[in-house]
Assembly symmetry: C2
Homo-oligomer: 348 residues x 2
């Protein structure tokens, strides 16, 4: 018998979120039932529930930055016990058998990962996200939140943290490396914190200088306005790695010109329109334009441990669940520093 739990969900792509109920499956042998304490609000939640990334079944409760406390475990569960502090990110399952899954890169599962909400689960049901009181997830897709990380500021790490940590780590951000972060929103602010903690020299490229003091406080060494054409002349050929966290269309060739020899520009944001890449921008300097999608479960745990060790939480604005539609409007206006997090106690 599935359990009925309270959630905030969109009844349709055109409608605001409302308080409602959704079903959670019974706790299976390998499942963990989590009492949700906090759920981060990601820009992609908005794209998804509004049908901007393709049609979805409704009602749909979004939320893939979930932290909470284990309330029950199935008989075969070995990694977690009741009372453990845990998290769930953007995926709750994958085939487990393809080369990518076996390599621990479940986010690139050849059959497609099962996303935390809006995906077809193995039993045919549609997954429902973290804007709810409880969630049931197989233990292999549950992360441990280490001591030293408060639950509320840990929530955004499950998406914004891993989405930036993974490419920074993969492309070698560290001592002696010059790293630029494009955009200082939910993703960008975590990218600055993590790149700084990894030991890189960090430059923020933001539209204006309005967030300069905040960026420096987060750990940036330099801060430039991309609305100033001088910026692109001054920084030409400088960076080993540019992490683009902006989903809007940018002048990609201008940003590529900022890369040093063998430098890489890695996008974790994706505009709906294609980017017009001049092949000469890549050929001159053997430059790379690449993309990166969240991170695997093993790497997500590594990121959480790294953030605990370096005391890196997200900067958050805590909201009650009934403020979610207002929060969405503010996210769309970039009016948040830097992540809204729903207080799970206000969902019930």
């Amino acid at each position: 018998m599935p359990t009925t739990v309270t959630a905030y969900a969109a009844p349709s792509a055109a409608a605001p979120l409302v308080k409602t109920t959704i079903e959670r499956r019974d706790v299976g042998a390998h499942d963990v039932l989590i009492d949700i304490k906090y759920a981060g609000v990601c820009h992609s939640d908005i794209h998804t529930v509004r049908g901007e990334w393709g049609p979805r079944e409704f009602p749909l409760a979004p939320g893939h930055e979930i932290v909470g406390i284990v309330a029950e475990v199935g008989p075969e569960v070995t990694k977690y016990k009741v009372g453990d502090r845990v998290g769930v990110g953007c995926m709750v399952n994958s085939c487990g058998e393809c080369a990518n899954c076996k390599a621990g890169e479940e986010q690139y599962c050849a059959k497609g990962m099962t996303e935390t909400y809006g995906s077809v689960d193995r039993d045919g049901s549609i997954t429902q996200g973290g804007y709810s009181t409880q969630v049931v997830v197989i233990e292999d897709f549950v992360l441990a939140i280490p001591d030293g990380l408060e639950l509320d500021v840990a929530a955004p790490l499950l998406c914004a943290g891993i989405t930036t940590y993974s490419p920074l780590h993969h492309w070698g951000a560290g001592p002696g490396k010059k790293v630029a972060i494009v955009g200082l929103g939910g993703l960008g602010h975590m990218a600055v914190k993590i790149a700084h903690a990894l030991g890189a020299e960090v430059t923020v490229l933001s539209q204006t200088l309005s967030k300069k003091d905040a960026g420096i406080a987060l750990g940036a060494d330099h801060f430039y306005a991309t609305s100033d054409p001088e910026t692109f002349a001054a920084l030409a050929g400088q960076f080993d790695l540019i992490l683009n966290t902006v989903s809007a269309v940018i002048d990609i060739n201008a940003y590529l010109s900022l890369l040093a020899l063998d430098g890489a520009l890695v996008s974790v944001g994706a505009p709906a329109e294609p980017l017009a890449v001049n092949a000469f921008s890549l050929i001159g300097g053997r430059r790379t334009f690449a993309g990166s999608l969240i991170g695997g479960i093993r790497e997500t745990q590594e990121m959480l441990n790294f953030c605990a060790e370096h005391k890196l939480g997200s900067e958050i604005e805590l909201i009650s669940a009934d403020q979610i539609n207002e929060a969405y409007e503010r996210v769309l206006k970039s009016d948040v520093r830097y992540r809204f997090v729903i207080d799970g106690a206000t969902i019930a």
Copy 2:
């Protein structure tokens, strides 16, 4: 006193090449005078002398796939002596002081390499290429042609060889790797030979199957027609590396979809128009779109040694110098298997 030598040069961007004379500087302390035996005909020669890659000074003698015999050396020259078999590729100088030059990647010189023809040399003169009887080049930009490589089939290695060897080597083509070569022209046919010799599993992606037998004979394991949409379905997610040797605009997202996790599509050809890259094509699979420009001098020598060891020359069609304009028309129609090479004896 400069020396006057015979050359085939374009009097203007609109004119065919004509037999004429050009000046070569006196042999300086570090210079090598080379009697040119063969000069390969590269598609970029045509773009350049026709002003398609920007305005140039005329008359201009193209040619950057040069092989010959050392006729004279300056007093400080230590690497070469009269009678040595040598080659000159796409560049004849660089600043020597920037980080890229010091790293042996002179092609990415921060101040711009001095190209073999059409560049402003240190003395203010305009460099003139290999469609001539002799050339004077500083020894640091002269390559040794190893025994076991015939001079005529070695000529195209100085551009087509290094342009394909460098990215294949840099991106790890070798045993256990699946490599696709897009296009089977002057660059593509060398890419197939080199990738095969490096031990990779090689697939040719050509517009039609018309060159299939030839491609297999060159060392390809598989051959697919890109005009057949089934090709893209059949090969989805297969390749670790795709080397694009085609300068025309391609459906870049379709080719990116053929890459495995962490795969790279590297362009050495550059269309004038930008390529419309969908960021999702990169994010799904952490894929890379990159570019590569010839190779450094050290790596060019390494490539020549590799080709000598593996008996890899270019497939060539030897022409006399007075056939050059006809050859250009045939290059533009892709009617050459696979590289025209001018017999230096016919230039004088």
